[in-house]
């Protein structure tokens, strides 16, 4: 099915600054959890904060965690990435497990927006020998040749011209002159 109905931008797979080639750096800069201390919709977030948040913060030392308790506001999380992208997610009526799962999803993302990948491979160096160009398989002599050239200006599959064919026929019809024969 064509993907136009999803209205997603499309692009090639990439990673910021070749992340993972040397050291892997988690791209999540900071995560802000906004919740209400009383309202029922924030129950999952509150349970998560009480139980799993410290472990999460310890396992992700590169990410700063901010908590914003705000009265009468539905819970949400905002993830900010090293390339400046922001990702908002409403956590209303989430369970504790759901919060944990969505948080770990945010951790593993880079800030590159969600898009349809055209190909699942990418290389910055697609060629070792050099991309084909019309002069790749040509002899370098053409650089200094002056045109029209006797050999290079001829078509490739020329064959003998009519004049040359006539000369060949003429030579065959000639009787050998005994005076031209070498002495035995």
């Amino acid at each position: 099915m064509s993907n136009s109905h999803m209205f997603l931008p499309s692009g090639f797979i990439r990673t910021p600054l070749q992340n993972g080639l040397g050291r892997y750096i988690p791209q999540l800069q900071r995560i802000t959890l906004k919740f209400c201390k009383n309202h029922g919709g924030s129950r999952g977030v509150r349970d998560f904060i009480e139980s799993d948040l410290m472990e999460f913060a310890k396992t992700n030392p590169g990410t700063v965690v901010y908590l914003k308790p705000r009265r009468h506001r539905s819970p949400c999380m905002v993830a900010e990435y090293l390339n400046g992208e922001r990702e908002y997610l409403s956590c209303h009526e989430f369970s504790r497990d759901e919060v944990h799962k969505w948080l770990s999803y945010m951790c593993t993302r880079s800030g590159i927006p969600v898009m349809r990948f055209r190909k699942y491979q990418h290389t910055d160096y697609p060629t070792v020998q050099g991309v084909w160009n019309p002069f790749t398989h040509q002899a370098p002599e053409i650089n200094i040749a002056e045109f029209p050239h006797e050999v290079l200006s001829r078509p490739l599959d020329h064959g003998p011209t009519a004049t040359e064919q006539l000369i060949e026929i003429f030579k065959k019809t000639q009787i050998e002159d005994p005076a031209n024969k070498p002495p035995n």
Binding site: M1, S2, H5, T127, G130, V131, H137
Partner: protein, 147 residues
Amino acid sequence: MLITRVLFNRAPKADNFWKRRRVFKLTAHYRGRKRNCYSIAIKYLHRALVYVKKGRKLKKKDAIELWQQRISAGCRELGSSYEALVRGMARCQIALDKKTLANLAIWEPRTFKSLTQIAAAKLRQEPIKGLNDISPPPAGVITRGML
């Protein structure tokens, strides 16, 4: 108990909203009434789905044709032909597919040239009847009886 009356009950009518929503999600990028009116949208959606099914085979066919065209062009530039390359490679037990060959012809032209030369050298040793050899023997190919 009278069960006949109970047997007359029909199943509740399905909610059309969800059925139509499934259609509208797929026609969201259409123009005008084809996007929002069910009885119009469904006609165009059915055509689109038929084209999708047909297109799966056509896409493969087109890709193979394109690769074949590119390999043939690359071969002809080097004085060989597509048939000579493929048949020569098969006899040398080099099993490279059309996609790889086309990519080599573009991105690794010298590898591609050496493949044409290997195939030509093999066909020179074991000529195929009916396959015209257009070019002179390839220079710089040392077989040492390995072909």
